[in-house]
C-alpha cells in the first residue's frame, strides 16, 4: 500500500472532485487518490503523508491554486505540481507559472489526464530524490544575463518581429524548453499538433505573451556567472556551444532531432542550479570533456544531464517525441564514452 503513488486532487467544486474520482476509478488501486476541497486541506494532507503529484484548480476561495502551489514548492519541493483549470484569462494563468510544472486545461478527457499522471510518475521514478527536490525548488527560470538583456531589448522595441524574438529565445536553453512547454500546454490555444521547434513555439505564443513573459515580474531571472560561484566562468557558454554543435550536426532545423539536440544539454544547467555544491567540482574535474562529465555525473549524482533533461521534458509535459529524441542522444553519448 505504501508504495502506491499518492496523488492529491484539489478543487473547491465537490462535483469536479467526484467526477475525477469516477473518471479514475479504474486506477484507484494503482494510485492512491486523495480528493480535497481547499488549499488548506491539501497542505494538511501533504504534511500527513508526502504526495508524488498534486493536481490543483486555480480559482479557489481562501488559498487559491498559485498560492497553494507556491507553498508546496517551498515545503514539499519533491512533489510534482500540476494545474487543472478552466481558466481562460492568460494573465491569471501566468500567475501560476513560477510554481507550476504543468498546466492542463479544463475540460480534459480521462485519456489526457491519465496520460499526464502516468508520464509524470514515469519520469519521476527516473530521477533521484535530491534532483527532484532541487528541480522542484526552482521557482524562476534562469536565463543567461546577456540573453536576458537581448530579450528585454527585443520585446521593448517596437518593430522587432516574432521571428527575431524566437532567435533570441533559442539562445537560452531553459527558455527554449519553457516556450515549448507553454505552447504545448494548451493554455494559450491548443496547437493542432505537437509543436516541436522553438521557432514555432515562440510564434504560437505570440509577441504579446512573450513580452509579458520576459518583462513580467518573476518569470525569468537573469543569471550572471557570479550567481554560480563554483562553476567555470564560461560554463554556460560551453553548454550552449555543445548544444549548437550538436544541433548543427542534425541539419534540418524543423526536425524533432534538431530541437532535441538543442535542449538535451539543458540538464547541465539544471544540475548546476539544483546541485550547487556537488556539480561544480565535477565540471571542473571533467575539464571540458563532455563524455567524461557524463560519466562523473552518473557516478557521483546517480543521474546524468541528459536524464535530467528527459526528466524536465516529462515534468513540463513537452511532446513525447522530443523526450524520446533526447533519450537517444543521451544513450549515444554514453556509448561513445564506453568505446
Amino acid at each position: 500500500m505504501t508504495t502506491r503513488p499518492r496523488i492529491v486532487f484539489v478543487d473547491d467544486d465537490r462535483l469536479v472532485l467526484s467526477g475525477l474520482q469516477n473518471l479514475l476509478r479504474k486506477q484507484r488501486h494503482e494510485w492512491e487518490q486523495v480528493f480535497v476541497a481547499s488549499g488548506e486541506a491539501a497542505l494538511d494532507e501533504l504534511s500527513r503523508a508526502p504526495a508524488d503529484i498534486v493536481i490543483s484548480d486555480m480559482r479557489m476561495p481562501g488559498m487559491d491554486g498559485p498560492a497553494l502551489l507556491e507553498r508546496i514548492r517551498a515545503q514539499h519541493p519533491g512533489t510534482i505540481r500540476i494545474v487543472l483549470s478552466g481558466e481562460a484569462e492568460r494573465a491569471d494563468v501566468l500567475r501560476a507559472l513560477p510554481a507550476m510544472h504543468q498546466f492542463v486545461a479544463k475540460p480534459c478527457s480521462g485519456t489526457v489526464l491519465r496520460e499526464v499522471i502516468s508520464r509524470a510518475l514515469r519520469v519521476r521514478s527516473a530521477a533521484t530524490a535530491p534532483i527532484r527536490a532541487g528541480i522542484g525548488r526552482l521557482a524562476h527560470l534562469p536565463v543567461r544575463h546577456d540573453v536576458h538583456a537581448d530579450l528585454v531589448r527585443a520585446v521593448s522595441t517596437s518593430g522587432v518581429g516574432i521571428a527575431e524574438i524566437a532567435v533570441i529565445v533559442s539562445n537560452s536553453l531553459a527558455l527554449s524548453v519553457k516556450v515549448m512547454q507553454l505552447a504545448n500546454a494548451g493554455v494559450f490555444g491548443a496547437p493542432a499538433q505537437p509543436i516541436v521547434t522553438v521557432d514555432a513555439a515562440t510564434r504560437h505564443l505570440g509577441a504579446e505573451l512573450m513580452r509579458t513573459l520576459v518583462i513580467g515580474p518573476g518569470y525569468l531571472v537573469p543569471l550572471a556567472p557570479a550567481d554560480t560561484p563554483g562553476l567555470p566562468r564560461d560554463f554556460f557558454y560551453q553548454v550552449r556551444e555543445r548544444a549548437v554543435a550538436r544541433a548543427a550536426a542534425v541539419g534540418d532545423p524543423t526536425s524533432v532531432e534538431h530541437t532535441a539536440a538543442q535542449i538535451a544539454e539543458v540538464g547541465g544547467l539544471v544540475l548546476a542550479l539544483a546541485e550547487p555544491e556537488r556539480y561544480p567540482p565535477l565540471v571542473t574535474a571533467a575539464a571540458g570533456d563532455p563524455v567524461a562529465l557524463q560519466h562523473m555525473e552518473r557516478a557521483h549524482l546517480g543521474i546524468d544531464r541528459f536524464q535530467v533533461s528527459i526528466y524536465l521534458a516529462g515534468l513540463w509535459g513537452l511532446p513525447p517525441p522530443i523526450e524520446e529524441a533526447v533519450e537517444r542522444i543521451g544513450a549515444a553519448s554514453a556509448r561513445a564514452g564506453s568505446r
Binding site: D13, V16, G86, A88, P107
Partner: protein
C-alpha cells in the same frame, strides 16, 4: 471739411442772425434818429449801413463755411469796425454810434484770437483818439472801450468753455464708440466661445457614448473569461461522469452477459454453487460495488452540471440583450438575477450574495445599459471585499435589494468591503479615476454607471464608511405606465 468747432460757430451765428440783424437795425435807427433833420448825415448813415449789411450777408452766405470761420470773421470785424468808425466820424459821433463797439466785441471769440483782438484794440484806439480829437469828452469813449473789452473777454471765455465741453463730449463719444466696439468684439468672442462650449458638450456626450461602448467590451472580455471558466468546470465533471457511465455501462453489460451465461448453465442443469465464484469474479471485474454506489450519483451530478451550464447560457443571453440600444419596459429584478448569474465568477470566491427583491413596476429603460450598471457596481463590491480579504478580513457579503419608492424604483447594492476613503468621494465618478491595480479596472465603471443613470433621468448616490462597507443607491423614475404595469413578486 469743416471742423466741429467751426460748425458750432456757424450754427451760433445763424441762430443769432435775427438778434444781430435786429440789433444792427436798432442801432442804425437810433443813429438815424440822433441825426434826424440833418439829412446829409442820415443819408451817410443809411448808405454806410446798407453797405455793411450787404457785406455781412455776403460773408454769411458765401464766405462762412468756405473759408475758415476765423478768416471770415476777422475780415467781417475789420470791415464793420472800419465802416462804423468812418460813419461815426462823418456824422460827428452821436451817442448811438458808440453801441457798435460793444456790439462787435460781443462777436469776438476764440476763433478770432490775435487778429480779432488786434482789430478790436486798433478800432478802440482809433475811435477813442478820433473822438477825443473831435472834441468828445474822454469819459464816454473810455467807458465804451472798457465795457467792450470786458464783453469781448467774457464772450471769449464762455465760448472757450463751451468748446472745451464740446471737445470733451466728442472725446467721450469716441470713447463710448470704442467701448461699444470692444463690447461688440467681446460679444462675438462670447458667441464663439459658446459655440465651442456647445461643441465640447457634444464631443463629451459622444465620448461618453464611446466610453460606454469601450467599457461594455472590456466587461464582456472580462466576463467571457469568467463565463468560460464557469462553463468549463461543469463540462469537466459532466464529461468525467459521462466517461465513467460509458465504462460502467460496458462493465455492467459484460456482467449481465456473465449472469445470462450462468443462468443458461443453471437451466442446463449445472449446479449454481459451482458457478458462484465465476459470478463473484465477474462482479469484481465490473467493480459492481463502486458502480452501484456511484453510477446513479454520477448521472444526478451530470444533470446538475447541465443545469448549471444552461443557467449560465440563459443569463448570458439575457444580459447581452440583443436589442441593446432600445428603451423598453424592463423587469429590474430579472435584470439583477441574470447579471448576478453571469458575474458569479467575479464574487463567488470572496462574498455571499443576498438578494432582497421587492415588488416592482416595469421600468422604462435600456436593459443592456442598466445591466451594465448593475454589473459594474457588483464587480466593484466584489473587489472592495476582495481588498478586505487580502488585508485579512473574513469573507464578505453583497446585498442587492430593490424596492418601489415614491415615483421611482430604488436599487441598492450594499457591500461589506473596505469602503471608499472620504478624500476621494468627489472623484469616484470621474472617468479614468481608479484605485484599482493595473488590469483590474480602467476607472470607467462608476463613470459609466453615473452617465447611464443620469441619461435615464435617475440618480446615483453612495454612502461609505471605511472598514465597514459601501452602499450605492440608484433611483430610476418609475414613469410611463404603458398599460397596466406587470407586477412581479419577489
Amino acid at each position: 471739411m469743416v471742423p466741429p468747432s467751426d460748425r458750432l460757430y456757424i450754427e451760433l451765428t445763424r441762430r443769432l442772425g435775427t438778434i444781430n440783424v435786429g440789433a444792427a437795425a436798432a442801432i442804425t435807427a437810433l443813429t438815424v434818429l440822433a441825426v434826424w433833420g440833418n439829412w446829409h448825415h442820415v443819408g451817410q448813415v443809411a448808405i454806410g449801413q446798407v453797405a455793411v449789411m450787404a457785406f455781412n450777408v455776403w460773408i454769411d452766405r458765401r464766405v462762412l463755411g468756405r473759408w475758415s470761420a476765423r478768416r471770415a470773421e476777422t475780415l467781417r470785424t475789420a470791415v464793420n469796425l472800419t465802416a462804423m468808425t468812418a460813419i461815426g466820424h462823418a456824422i460827428g459821433w452821436p451817442i448811438p454810434t458808440w453801441c457798435w463797439l460793444p456790439f462787435t466785441a460781443l462777436m469776438i471769440d476764440q476763433l478770432l484770437p490775435r487778429v480779432a483782438w488786434t482789430v478790436l484794440l486798433v478800432s478802440c484806439a482809433v475811435q477813442g483818439t478820433a473822438t477825443i480829437l473831435a472834441g468828445v469828452p474822454w469819459g464816454l469813449p473810455a467807458s465804451v472801450i472798457v465795457s467792450s473789452l470786458l464783453i469781448a473777454g467774457h464772450t471769449r471765455m464762455r465760448f472757450s468753455a463751451m468748446s472745451d465741453m464740446l471737445r470733451r463730449s466728442d472725446r467721450q463719444r469716441a470713447e463710448l464708440a470704442a467701448a461699444n466696439g470692444a463690447l461688440a468684439t467681446a460679444h462675438a468672442a462670447l458667441g464663439e466661445a459658446n459655440q465651442r462650449l456647445q461643441g465640447a458638450v457634444e464631443a463629451r456626450a459622444h465620448a461618453e457614448l464611446e466610453l460606454l461602448q469601450a467599457q461594455k467590451l472590456e466587461s464582456v472580455g472580462r466576463l467571457a473569461a469568467g463565463i468560460a471558466h464557469e462553463i468549463n468546470t461543469p463540462v469537466q465533471f459532466v464529461g468525467d461522469n459521462l466517461q465513467f457511465t460509458k465504462e460502467a455501462t460496458a462493465d455492467l453489460v459484460a456482467l449481465v452477459a456473465t449472469y445470462r451465461e450462468v443462468f443458461r448453465a443453471v437451466e442446463g442443469g449445472a449446479a449454481l454453487a459451482e458457478l458462484a465464484p465465476q459470478l463473484a469474479e465477474a462482479e469484481a471485474r465490473c467493480d459492481l460495488d463502486y458502480v452501484t454506489e456511484h453510477l446513479p450519483e454520477a448521472l444526478g451530478q451530470s444533470a446538475t452540471g447541465i443545469e448549471r451550464i444552461t443557467a449560465i447560457v440563459r443569463s448570458v443571453k439575457d444580459f447581452a440583450h440583443p436589442d441593446r440600444n432600445a428603451v423598453k419596459l424592463v423587469d429590474l429584478n430579472a435584470a439583477v438575477q441574470s447579471t448576478l448569474t453571469i458575474a458569479r465568477f467575479e464574487y463567488k470566491d470572496v462574498a455571499d450574495v443576498v438578494t432582497e427583491l421587492g415588488t416592482l413596476p416595469l421600468v422604462s429603460c435600456n436593459g443592456g445599459e442598466i445591466n451594465q450598471v448593475i454589473l459594474n457596481l457588483v464587480v466593484n463590491a466584489a473587489h472592495a471585499i476582495g481588498d478586505g480579504i487580502a488585508a485579512g478580513r473574513p469573507r464578505g457579503r453583497i446585498v442587492v435589494s430593490t424596492r418601489h419608492g415614491d415615483d421611482c424604483v430604488v436599487l441598492q447594492i450594499r457591500d461589506t468591503g473596505v469602503g471608499i476613503p472620504p478624500e476621494i468621494h468627489d472623484r469616484i465618478f470621474d472617468p479614468f479615476f481608479t484605485t484599482k491595480a493595473l488590469g483590474r479596472g480602467t476607472g470607467q465603471g462608476l463613470a459609466i454607471a453615473n452617465a447611464v443613470v443620469r441619461k435615464h433621468g435617475g440618480t446615483i448616490t453612495f454612502a461609505s464608511e471605511l472598514g465597514v462597507g459601501t452602499t450605492f443607491t440608484i433611483r430610476l423614475p418609475a414613469g410611463h405606465d404603458q398599460g397596466a404595469p406587470r407586477v412581479r413578486a419577489a
